[in-house]
């Protein structure tokens, strides 16, 4: 229904008789009609239009104006609740009639969120001009219980820059569609910040639990060029993956919120260890443990070496993993006692899938983006991040929603999350993107993620922010 029609319907159906009467009683006298409209607006919102408005051009006043006092939470509360009783058209007009300073004051003094306030805040957000970025950020922060919506201050994320309206408006739509327990009632989601990327960059993000000085920040940081906000993603998925072609900016917001939900629920440490979650195993920089599992999975030449020689080989390979000198594994192996004088044995070791894994499944080569890389004994071992290793069951890729999902258990969950909450035309089919590829995980989301309990004490934890974990 067009706004105008909806407004008319709301007015005729819901407005108090006296307001309607006042508004209509002016008859053919425009001046009297306008004054009566003003009186009606004053009753609705409890504020008087700015005097200059009253004597200015004959534009209808909707209860805003510069004279309204929005200098305290109590006054803003009165204004908001007065506005909430009005038809959408009047709400919008009231917001647009405020000046920038008043809108900023409104955003800074909002009362606690409830359904009524949330509804009005959305109207305020929608009708705040694009140039009022601080106000837009404050409104988004208030609506979603985020302490900071602004430039990223974590220096190791890169250079923080302010948001702009296109990104903020898109982010609002994404956050609004997620469960409250994941955003406003999630203690692991405290800020939505932005960092600089090059012109033309598709959206990317970082979830950061602690800043560079170990202070808790629990923030989703997004880097994007506003020109790419509407861009479909074709970087992170194969054409037949559910996430191929979905909006990259929206997916990125959901993905980073997914990390915050993971921080709250611990899914990547629990579900991801199960077969339906990919049977992930995390080693981080435990190179010796990773190598032991690799050798076991491979069953190649290294496993068949004498104990003493194998120990030397594994020590040499652990050094390679630590130094990330993957391009020349032959040199350190050639110096290993038991191999340096046995060319055949050296050749056999170099052909072991363990060595091939170290050559190909490294973060520099991003094996998760192209088929998974080397598979040994049904498992993929990979350097997910610099010097941080994981492994997973190769068969799990048959259920992938994107290639990036198989970078690490945390990414597995964040991508699953983004797929589950990818909008569908019929709300009854929530999770369809995930269900189409991985019905077991979709069922897990239905039962354990979508129904997550809100952190009721998030607000009281505010004072803890900045303290070390």
């Amino acid at each position: 229904m067009p706004d105008a029609a909806r407004d008319r319907k709301a007015t005729s159906a819901g407005a108090p008789a006296s307001e309607t009467d006042d508004a209509q009683a002016g008859g053919d006298n425009p001046l009297r009609a306008r004054k009566l409209q003003q009186r009606a607006a004053e009753r609705r919102t409890g504020v008087q239009p700015d005097a200059t408005d009253a004597s200015g051009p004959a534009a209808p006043d909707h209860g805003g104006g510069t004279a309204v006092d929005l200098s305290s939470p109590a006054k803003v509360g009165d204004f908001v609740h007065g506005l909430a009783a009005q038809p959408p058209g009047d709400q919008a007009a009231a917001i647009t009639s405020l000046d920038a300073g008043k809108r900023a004051s409104l955003a800074a003094n909002l009362p606690p969120m409830d359904d009524v306030v949330r509804g009005v805040v959305k109207v305020v957000f929608d009708h705040t001009p694009d140039g009022e970025i601080d106000t837009l950020g404050k409104l988004l922060g208030a609506r979603f219980n985020l302490k900071q919506v602004g430039p990223d201050t974590v220096k190791s994320d890169g250079k923080g820059i302010p948001w702009e309206s296109k990104g903020l408006r898109a982010a609002w739509g994404v956050l609004e569609a997620l469960p409250a327990a994941h955003v406003q009632d999630n203690k692991a989601m405290w800020a939505l910040v932005r960092y600089k990327v090059s012109k033309g960059s598709q959206a990317e993000g970082v979830y950061v639990d602690q800043d560079d000085k170990d202070k808790t920040v629990d923030q989703a940081a997004i880097g994007y060029d506003p020109a790419t906000v509407d861009q479909p993603d074709k970087d992170f998925s194969d054409k037949d993956d559910p996430m191929y072609g979905t909006n990259a900016f929206n997916e990125t917001i959901r993905h980073e919120v997914g990390h915050a939900v993971d921080a709250k629920l611990g899914v990547s440490d629990s579900y991801c260890g199960k077969p339906e979650g990919g049977t992930w195993k995390q080693y981080d920089d435990g190179f010796d443990a990773a190598l032991a599992d690799m050798v076991s999975a491979s069953g190649g030449a290294i496993a068949g070496l004498k104990d003493e020689v194998r120990a030397h080989v594994l020590a040499a390979l652990a050094k390679v993993m630590k130094s990330q000198k993957f391009d020349d594994i032959k040199t350190p192996l050639s110096a290993v006692p038991g191999l340096k004088d046995d060319a055949d044995q050296l050749k056999a070791v170099l052909a072991d899938p363990v060595v091939q894994t170290l050559q190909k499944n490294t973060t520099a080569k991003s094996p998760w983006m192209s088929g998974g890389g080397v598979v040994m004994g049904g498992r993929v071992f990979e350097e997910s991040y610099d010097k941080s290793w994981n492994s997973y069951a190769a068969e799990a890729r048959d259920r992938k929603v994107s290639n990036y999902q198989f970078r690490a258990p945390g990414e597995w969950f964040a991508e699953s999350y983004a797929a589950y909450y990818e909008p569908v035309s019929d709300p009854k089919h929530k999770g369809a993107k995930l269900a189409g590829r991985d019905p077991k995980t979709k069922a897990f989301f239905d039962a354990s993620v979508d129904t997550a309990k809100p952190d009721k004490d998030k607000a009281s934890d505010d004072e803890k922010k900045g303290k070390k974990k």
Binding site: D157, G158, K159, Q202, Q231, K365, R407, G410
Partner: protein
């Protein structure tokens, strides 16, 4: 001052007598000296940093590096890229660091170094959130497992955009996975970068 500012940290890089530290290094700066300087500049624990010097950067007077917060190793983020000069001056803003590099080369219409040399350093400096790996050789191209990607990616080359000299190269990281950067050097010697991710080259 922001990270764009040059941070004078000579005290870190110099010995007690004031002489520049000289250890196994590139252009006079070692990874340890850089680690100390970055830790001081960013007020983080030096023991929690790992720093890597870019081999083969060949930038007169500058050492190009990336440092990683060890605590953030198992995730994206937690990195610092930059350059340090022989006197210990540190630049931790990637854009400003690149401008310093271009100035050190005198890069412009003269094209004082090869496109590969530019790509090696400029691509490395794009690795703020996680290390970036510019495609510099045919071997790098051949290592791209995705056939659709191989159709588009190419070796670094010189370009001219609106009369301004520049370099075009392809770069990789964990996220984004592969992208093309066009670096254009303005008359004042500073650079403008425009990127385009691999997905935007693929057919719908």
């Amino acid at each position: 001052m922001t990270r764009a500012a040059v941070l004078a940290l000579a005290a870190i890089a110099c010995s007690a007598q004031g002489a520049p530290a000289r250890r196994a290094s590139v252009n006079g700066q070692s990874a340890e000296a850089i680690k100390s300087a970055v830790a001081k500049a960013e007020d983080v624990d030096a023991g929690g940093l790992e720093c890597t010097i870019l081999d083969g950067a060949k930038v007169p007077g500058l050492t190009v590096f990336r440092c990683q917060l060890v605590a953030k190793r198992a995730q994206r983020g937690g990195g610092y890229v930059g350059v340090m000069d022989g006197a210990g001056k540190l630049v931790l803003d990637s854009d400003e660091a690149l401008n310093r590099v271009l100035a050190a080369w005198g890069y412009g219409a003269k094209r004082s170094v090869s496109a590969v040399d530019v790509a090696r350093v400029a691509g490395f400096l794009e690795g703020e959130r996680e290390p970036a790996h510019p495609i510099l050789t045919q071997g790098d191209l051949d290592a791209l497992d995705n056939a659709d990607w191989r159709k588009h990616a190419a070796l670094p080359r010189e370009i001219t955009v609106d009369g301004k000299p520049g370099v075009e190269y392809w770069n990789r990281s964990g996220r984004p996975p592969l992208w093309r950067t066009q670096l254009v050097v303005k008359p004042d010697g500073t650079a403008d970068a425009t990127v385009k991710s691999i997905g935007q080259f693929l057919e719908p």
